[in-house]
Amino acid sequence: MRRRVPLTICLVCGIVMVIQFFVPHPISQTLYNEARRWFIIIASFTLILGLESLTRLHVNRVRRRQSGWGYSIITLVSLVFTAVTGVIWGIGEGSLFMRIYRYIYAPLQATMFSMLAFYMASAAYRSFRARTPEAVLLLVSALFMMFGRVPIGDLVFAHTSEVIEWILQYPSMAVQRGILLGVGLGIIATSLKIILGVERNWLGGT
């Protein structure tokens, strides 16, 4: 029973939503919009669960003086401070909330993104070794691409950009399309398995 009810709900909702895609009638549209609204409401409430989980984790860490508990205090203070400033003084242009966003949050995001440059260098140095024929192919393509995507590539060999453009437009695109076709078929198969109840791991503890 505990498994049968959610599986039945999954089956009915899955089939109904598949049929809904092909039916333009207002009844179908109403159903879709209602389902979408329900999803948004549920998602909004689960944000409260997420907040509770985060707060509980960090409060616990501070209480038990676990390693790194100082960072937990910073997390909690930042969370409360940002929320309070947004609620009290609003989130419009010039507000404290927007200043926090522009001068703290946005630069932090950009900094994390910039770390990719360092990580790419260390990953490339460690991994691009000609151990196998496939590795050699990967290595040569990567070297060519890196050389061609900077101005010096064209200075050394005048047609580098054209070769790079050709690699991007033909072999690279073909491979991507091949993977995407397989992924698309896999998505349909997995969805069907979930709808029909063949795949049940997502039910968890029920």
Binding site: R102, Y105, A106, P107, Q109, A110, M112, F113, S114, A117, F118, M120, A121, S122, A124, Y125, F128, R129, A130, L139, A142, L143, M146, F147, R149, V150, P151, I152, D154, L155, S161, E165, L168, Q169, S172, M173, Q176, R177
Partner: protein, 280 residues
């Protein structure tokens, strides 16, 4: 010694990368830029915009993508304002508006005579993604009844002749996500509107299929694409302002060369090591 180099600790690699980035920036080392066809095509499309039409620039990116996409924004704004091409600026993302405004303020220092409502119109943001694009195809005045500064759109001299995609020569979307496909589907497929994309280097390879099928008129891929566009604007004599992407190409070049050099070095040492092991 061989092993030490092959297993070079990461901090040394990071230090080398930091130097490869910092030194060219400090020395101001710039390299000549060779323009590729996708960038040239987009430039020429903007260049051929007649007086009765405008360019629509949509800044659909957030602050984390500023290093790659902000120079593109500035370069396109410079191109339009100096070549006297009317330009509409908007965003499909709320975070994009602030960045577009920043770019506009930057560029206006170079073109103090450029006027809102005459040379450019800053439309701002409105939610809806695909619905916004569809609305622009019908009537821009309905989607944006007021500009970003609150002026009624009908009162702006430039907007008296710009009503919908018929009056837009090319739409350029600057993005780091899949929003470009929304522009292709709704603007190009439905309204036959010419669309160009400025994208981050990571997603640029995935955009080539659209370029190949003719659904896009041009593509600026990553910082290199931005530098090529800046170079074209500079070469035409439109602007002598700071070319941030071109300045950074020196750093990108040295970093790429460093990584290439390190990969070649480690492969040479690796093959020496293998040979030694075989003989032993």
């Amino acid at each position: 010694m061989l092993n030490k180099i092959l297993n070079l600790p990461r901090p040394w690699i990071y230090l080398l990368v930091a130097l490869a980035v910092a030194i060219p920036l400090i020395l101001g080392w710039e390299l000549p830029v060779r323009v590729t066809p996708p960038v040239k095509n987009l430039f020429e499309e903007v260049e051929s915009t007649p007086d009765s039409q405008a360019v629509l620039l949509s800044c659909d990116y957030d602050p984390s993508l500023v290093p790659e996409l902000y120079p593109m924004t500035v370069a396109i704004l410079r191109h339009c304002l100096s070549a006297k091409k009317h330009i509409l600026i908007m965003s499909l993302y709320p975070q994009g508006v602030g960045l577009a405004q920043m770019a506009l303020e930057d560029v206006k220092k170079e073109f103090p005579n450029a006027q809102e409502g005459i040379d450019y119109t800053f439309l701002g943001f409105t939610p809806g993604y695909s619905m916004v694009i569809l609305g622009l195809g019908e009537d821009i005045h309905e989607v944006f009844p007021r500009d970003y500064y609150g002026n009624p759109i009908d009162s702006l001299p430039m907007m008296r002749k710009i009503h919908n995609f018929n009056d837009i020569n090319v739409v350029i979307t600057l993005c780091g996500s899949g929003i470009y496909s929304t522009w292709v589907v709704y603007a190009n497929t439905k309204y036959r509107q010419k669309v160009g994309v400025g994208a981050t280097a990571v997603i640029a390879p995935a955009i080539y299929p659209y370029l190949q099928t003719g659904q896009l008129v041009g593509l600026l891929g990553g910082l290199k694409g931005a530098s090529e566009y800046e170079y074209l604007v500079y070469k035409k004599g439109y602007s002598t302002g700071r070319r941030r992407a071109c300045e950074r190409m020196g750093a990108q070049t040295t970093t790429h060369l460093l990584i290439i050099g390190m990969i070649i070095l480690c492969n040479v040492l690796y093959s020496i090591q293998r040979r030694r092991r075989r003989t032993q």
